[in-house]
């Protein structure tokens, strides 16, 4: 009996120790500093690092520590061909339910956030995951998922809990990998591939919840779900659109069948407020996106909204809709940022969000109460103005029409998935923005509308310019913005701010640039060719590093 108890106790301790060796909740709750353990670095979404070894006085000395290019696919399976670019010929571990044929041998474009935990980097592209030694960039392992197909538009990164990594696949599986070896522990189906769901989101780990989202460009309903980190079993699933009679929000649709097929997909990670246990995230466009069948009559809740869901129960606490009855595929999925600051002279807990539709919002994050709306793109013309609750009011004349509507933003949006950032030093919110116009022609005149994103032809015209834009959360007004030189523009990539009074971002010409976050003054740059994710920073052996992806390569910079 005593022995048995002792054995049990030992076993329990061993489990506890094993879990403690990897990623813990305590580590995830820390403000962003030495490591980068989750999509935005920490739960706030601010992408503000407390590190200041690299700062305004020495950033001009920043120098390349290493760079590594990566090859996707099953190439190294079975210890075949060695890596040409420092891959070191590590074997590729192959998993998956499909043949892998659909993915082809396409090029690598790293859009993911890269996790940095202790001395290792972990990242993903569609169907592929890697572990890399943070000191020299050499591959430790590579995992390849043989896909059944699906939209291979990007992968936003991995989640980590204990010694396990979590990856979403375009054909709708959640795959759990051993972080040390890259070997698969299990995979579970998270959405129905037959319904044309695809999964790109970086899983977000909160306590014993793995939060996963999916995308869909047919008419299928969006949802956020929570999965058990040990088994992948479903803990709860929250639909963004009404699924049955009596569901809240159904009154904002013309009929139940349309609501049940109403889109609102969840494809970019949100932020988490440990104090209230609220996971705060954005939802995508209603479906059909561009046509207006009678079933869409109303605001179409909870599409194009910022939503707060209790991670323990999966129940919605509050919502704020940023595009009521959207007709331009204006996802509101862009990561919201949680800020404790002052508003009207009083301390306030807030959430800041710049939407694809060209409007910026400050909300109270405990209640969802609207505080501020600002328009951050001069070109935006799809709305008539703001209603009493600060929501942009759609101008139906700017819907897609047979004769054509001149609309800004274009489908790419005034902003899109590239992560925004915030600096408590300046009180400013930073977002890449683009003033682009397109003609929207309605091609589906059937009153039943089209399916998904169909029924319209969008002919892109031109961008009048694109910017790194800084917004004052207290007023919603643009505090400063830096226009990228040239006659046109394109949306730039995501942003990092640091306590070294620095802002790092890729521009639209392939440069990685350090700016003064107070005014946009340029302090340092290097030309990489195609900055494809948001820069990150961390500490390794007492030195601060800056990490960024450019296409198929990672670049690591430091001071010597």
């Amino acid at each position: 009996m005593t022995n048995w108890k002792a054995l049990l106790l030992t076993a329990t301790l061993a489990t506890g120790i094993a879990a403690a060796q990897g990623m813990t909740q305590e580590q995830l709750l820390k403000p962003l500093g030495d490591d980068w353990p989750t999509y935005s670095g920490d739960y706030s979404g601010q992408r503000y690092s407390r590190l200041k070894q690299i700062n305004q006085s020495n950033v001009k000395n920043l120098t390349l520590a290493w760079s590594t290019r990566f090859t996707a696919g099953a190439g190294n399976a079975g210890g075949g061909r060695g890596g040409r670019f420092g891959g070191g010929g590590v074997p590729t571990i192959v998993g998956g339910e499909g043949t892998g044929d659909a993915a082809g041998g396409g090029g690598v474009n790293i859009r993911a956030s890269v996790l940095k935990v202790d001395g290792t980097l972990y990242f993903a592209t569609p169907d592929n995951a890697w572990a890399v030694d943070a000191r020299d960039g050499h591959e430790l392992w590579h995992y390849f998922w043989k896909t059944k197909g699906g939209t291979h538009i990007g992968n936003r990164g991995l989640g980590m809990w204990g010694n396990w990594l979590y990856m979403e696949t375009p054909d709708d599986y959640l795959v759990c990998l051993d972080a040390k070896t890259g070997k698969e522990r299990w995979h579970v189906e998270i959405a129905n591939f037959n319904q044309q769901y695809f999964s790109t989101m970086a899983p977000i780990v909160v306590g014993n919840h793995i939060l996963v989202g999916t995308g869909d460009d047919l008419d299928e309903p969006g949802f956020l779900q929570s999965r058990d980190p040990e088994t992948g079993a479903l803990q709860w699933k929250w639909y963004t659109v009404p699924q049955q009679k009596g569901d809240p929000g159904l009154e904002t649709w013309g009929d139940l069948d349309t609501a049940r097929h109403g889109g609102g997909n969840v494809w970019i990670p949100g932020a988490y407020d440990p104090e209230t246990h609220l996971y705060i995230f954005g939802t995508g466009n209603p479906s059909p996106a561009y046509t207006n069948p009678p079933g869409r009559n109303g605001d179409n809740l909870y599409t194009c909204s910022i939503v707060a869901v209790d991670v323990d129960t999966g129940k919605m606490k509050w919502y704020y809709q940023t595009s009521p009855h959207d007709t331009h595929d204006s996802d509101s999925t862009e990561t919201p940022i949680l800020v404790d600051g002052t508003f009207n002279g009083k301390p306030r807990k807030m959430v800041l969000h710049a939407s694809r539709n060209g409007y910026y919002f400050t909300l109270d994050r405990l209640t969802g109460e609207h505080l501020v709306t600002g328009k951050y793109s001069d070109a935006v013309n799809w709305a008539k103005g703001l209603n009493a609750n600060g929501q942009p009011e759609r101008n139906p004349e700017k819907d897609s029409t047979v004769a054509g509507s001149l609309v800004s933003p274009n489908n790419g949006g005034a902003t899109n998935w590239p992560p925004p950032a915030y600096s408590p030093d300046t009180g400013l919110f930073y977002v890449p923005s683009n003033d682009a116009y397109a003609m929207y022609y309605l091609t589906e005149t059937d009153p039943r509308g089209a399916m998904g994103l169909g029924g319209k032809e969008e002919d892109g015209l031109v961008s009048l310019g694109s910017y790194l834009t800084a917004i004052d959360y207290k007023t919603g007004k643009v505090a400063w913005r830096h226009r990228y030189p040239g006659t046109s523009g394109n949306l730039a990539n995501g942003i990092l701010t640091t306590a070294g009074k620095l802002l790092f971002a890729g521009d639209i010409a392939g440069n990685l640039v350090a700016y003064d976050p107070a005014n946009g003054r340029i302090l340092w740059h290097t030309h990489l060719g195609n900055v494809s994710n948001a820069p990150e920073t961390y500490v390794l052996d007492g030195h601060q590093y800056l990490l960024v992806a450019a296409g198929d390569a990672l670049y690591s910079f430091t001071l010597y």
């Binding site: 059944k148 538009i153 044309q196 054509g404 309605l442 994103l453 031109v462 040239g486 440069n511």
Partner: protein
């Protein structure tokens, strides 16, 4: 021309599909739209039912027409009270009628669907018909609207006199402009941004847009000029009149850079236009023979 267009469109849409969520493509020059498209790109990435036996599809179509079409529409996209079947989870998961049969044979009484005394074989045929439709979220249209011409040509002419005539003339550079496009949509996109806004069907745009040029003035007052190749915050690259390429380093406001964009007047109009102005101009320009 038509043939070229047909080849070109899927390629274009393939590229734009990526652009929609992926701002890291090169800066847009022209003609990039958002998502959309005629069956290219991701629409091919999802399971579609294998082509069924044509005889079974025909039999299924006949039974569907009699028994199902009134409620679910002759194209299965929904009708009088019945939902769109193509996007239904049950239909998408069904292979040969095995999931559809219980619903048809038992009905969904609370949802208003009666029972149908059809055999499994008949339902298999119906399933073959329903599965013969391609399912995707990117289908541009099945019913192409006849024309985009809704504007008032007279109002368009007066707008032209007011806003365009200082640079253009319908008897000079724009002579016969109305004959140069097969689809008025192309003409419309073309005058909004020449070289941009591709789309529509038929013949391409005549394009003789002068190049963007740059004047670079050094601190000492020396001027260099040429066709702009590339500019960012750190370098400007241009081709001089003699064909040589120059690259000049930029440090803030030094040297002084002036960009001459021939499309600037067109761009300046974008925030100004009403859609009626645009439609009126199109209605006018198609009459310019």
């Amino acid at each position: 021309m038509l043939k070229t267009t047909r080849v070109f469109l899927p390629l274009l849409f393939g590229a734009t599909l990526i652009l929609a969520q992926a701002p890291q493509s090169p800066p847009p020059q022209a003609g990039r739209g958002g998502r959309g498209g005629g069956g290219g790109g991701f629409a091919n990435a999802y399971p579609q039912h294998a082509a069924g036996d044509p005889a079974a599809i025909d039999r299924g179509k006949a039974i569907y027409g009699v028994q199902c079409a009134f409620c679910h529409g002759s194209d299965a996209r929904g009708g009088e009270g019945g939902p769109n079947l193509l996007r239904s989870e049950l239909v998408l998961n069904d292979q040969k009628g095995e999931l559809i049969a219980p619903v048809v044979q038992n009905g969904r009484i609370d949802a208003g669907m009666p029972k149908f005394p059809l055999t499994n074989a008949q339902i298999e045929d119906i399933a073959a018909f329903v599965h013969s439709f391609r399912v995707g979220g990117y289908d541009i249209s099945r019913n192409r609207p006849p024309t985009i011409l809704v504007g008032d040509a007279k109002a368009g002419q007066s707008y032209f006199q007011q806003k365009c005539a200082s640079c253009h003339s319908v008897t000079g550079d724009l002579k016969g402009i109305g004959l140069k496009f097969e689809d008025p949509k192309q003409l419309q996109n073309y005058f909004l941004i020449p070289g941009g806004g591709r789309g529509g069907f038929g013949g391409g745009a005549p394009s003789n847009i002068p190049p963007t040029t740059v004047t670079v003035t050094s601190a000492s007052g020396q001027k260099l000029e040429g066709r702009l190749n590339r500019i960012d915050d750190f370098i400007v690259i241009f081709t001089q009149a003699d064909g040589t390429q120059r690259s000049v380093r930029r440090d803030g406001d030094t040297p002084k850079i002036e960009i001459h964009d021939p499309l600037k007047p067109h761009k300046d109009l974008l925030p100004e236009y009403t859609d009626k102005n645009i439609h009126d101009l199109t209605a006018y320009l198609v009459t310019v023979k």
